[in-house]
């Protein structure tokens, strides 16, 4: 999604004579513009898109941080998914929300495990997945995972045969409420154990 700044509102670029109070007020305005954009957007908004559409915001990271803090003790939080931002409800309140859940393809045990191998070991080749799971991947498994939009194709591995690698997507992180792959359960422990 793209945002075009219609009228680069001059009032946002304060002169040196501005009082701190007004500055502060303007900062709040920055935040609120970001709030409006992210709230209205259907997909998580990329920080680069935010920068492009709001060139008048001096420190976008600071503004986003303020916004995150503002919502931090609410039922709706501003969450960061890799380099994108979106509002999400807290799991704590899920008991009160019943939505007609979109029917997702139920993943098989093998598919779930393969997804986990990709998540923890990415970028990972087919052979490596098979080595870790100790079994050859059945036909169509990778097809299913790619179809789920949770897995994508990464860079080819720079080894003989240049094998294709697999990685997880932002959709995957968003689905499991993770900010980055590092937030995967036991991620650190696994890496430290050399797996």
């Amino acid at each position: 999604m793209n945002f075009i700044n219609k009228n680069e509102n001059k009032s946002f670029s304060g002169s040196q004579d501005d009082l701190p109070d007004i500055k502060k007020k303007f900062k709040l305005e920055d935040e609120k513009i970001l709030e409006a954009i992210i709230f209205a957007s259907k997909e998580p908004v990329n920080i680069n898109d935010l920068k492009k559409s709001c060139p008048f915001i001096e420190d976008i990271n600071a503004s986003l941080k303020n916004l995150t803090n503002f919502y931090s003790n609410r039922a709706v939080n501003l969450v960061k998914i890799k380099n994108t931002y979106a509002f999400r409800t807290l799991p704590y309140y899920s008991n009160h929300i019943t939505q007609t859940v979109e029917k997702k393809v139920k993943l098989s045990k093998a598919a779930k495990e393969t997804l986990a191998v990709i998540a923890y070991h990415q970028p990972v080749t087919r052979t490596e997945i098979e080595d870790i799971r100790g079994v050859s991947l059945y036909k169509g498994l990778m097809d299913t995972l790619l179809d789920s939009k949770w897995v994508n194709i990464g860079q080819r591995r720079d080894t003989p045969g240049m094998p294709v690698t697999y990685i997880t997507t932002n959709d995957f992180l968003d689905h499991f409420g993770l900010n980055t792959e590092k937030d995967l359960p036991n991620y650190k422990e696994l890496k430290e154990a050399g797996f």
Partner: protein, 251 residues
């Protein structure tokens, strides 16, 4: 998963419960010790082989993967039991043992992580995005929508289409019956000597095997047609000998 009946000292198993021999091995190891670091490999090998032996009694069509693992484990056990100085090649038994233990631990970790991952709150189930989006005062831009998998599928489809392309005759190397008739008639009009049939094939049809084959077949068919109508005579001294052709003796 693994079910066994100790009273009968016989395993009742369903291999379908396991995603491969490594998982079976892991399941056996987990029964042995809680801490995977302390498992005894030789004991594990025995358990695996015992298991496989009993399964094969019940199921003849045992997956090749399981048998391969069995032969590897048998080899590993023999290496472990042999005195060290008997062996001189690449990988020592202890290294192989360590490697197997590592793989088991790694698989067990990823299994735990898979369970933990899928226990996490999930979007659309445990937490939610905004229910609806406003679309007032917005420029609507048409954008093509396709996912990577669409493109991959399209490509795979084109390629498989090529493999299963319909059978098509390659027309340019087929000698037409009209051309054969013309060349035979041309020959007949020139002389009355017996001539081998394949010698009257035009020069430009002798280049490739495919062309020669087609030209002989068509010339033969045309010659039969002409013999039937009485325009030429055919002679074959005995079966499988070369066919000779000559114009019909007139008068």
């Amino acid at each position: 998963m693994l079910q066994h009946n100790i009273k009968q000292d016989k395993f009742i198993v369903d291999l379908k419960g396991f995603d491969g021999p490594l998982e079976l091995l892991l399941s056996l190891a987990q029964k042995q010790k809680v801490d995977l670091k302390e498992i005894s490999i030789t004991e594990l090998v025995d358990q695996y082989l015992f298991f496989i032996k009993n399964v094969s009694k019940l199921k003849l069509e045992l997956a090749a993967e399981y048998l391969m693992m069995a032969s590897f484990l048998t080899y590993l056990k023999s290496r472990i039991l042999l005195p060290k100085d008997c062996l001189e090649d690449e990988l020592s038994a202890s290294e192989m043992e360590k490697n197997l233990a590592f793989k088991l631990k790694r698989l067990s970790e990823i299994k735990n992580c898979t369970d933990e991952l899928f226990l996490k709150p999930k979007l659309g189930i445990d937490f939610f995005k905004r229910g609806f989006y406003e679309n007032s005062d917005k420029q609507i831009v048409k954008k093509l929508d396709a996912s990577l998998i669409d493109i991959l599928r399209a490509f795979a489809k084109i390629n498989s289409k090529k493999i299963f392309s319909p059978l098509r005759f390659i027309r340019e190397s087929i000698f037409k019956i009209d051309d054969a008739l013309k060349s035979i008639l041309g020959f007949i009009n020139r002389g009355k000597k017996w001539t081998l049939l394949h010698e009257i094939i035009p020069k430009d049809w002798r280049g490739s095997k495919v062309k020669v084959r087609s030209a002989i077949a068509t010339t033969f068919a045309a010659s039969l047609e002409l013999a039937k109508s009485g325009d030429c005579l055919l002679e074959q001294s005995s079966p499988f000998k070369s066919l000779k052709i000559k114009s019909k003796e007139r008068g």
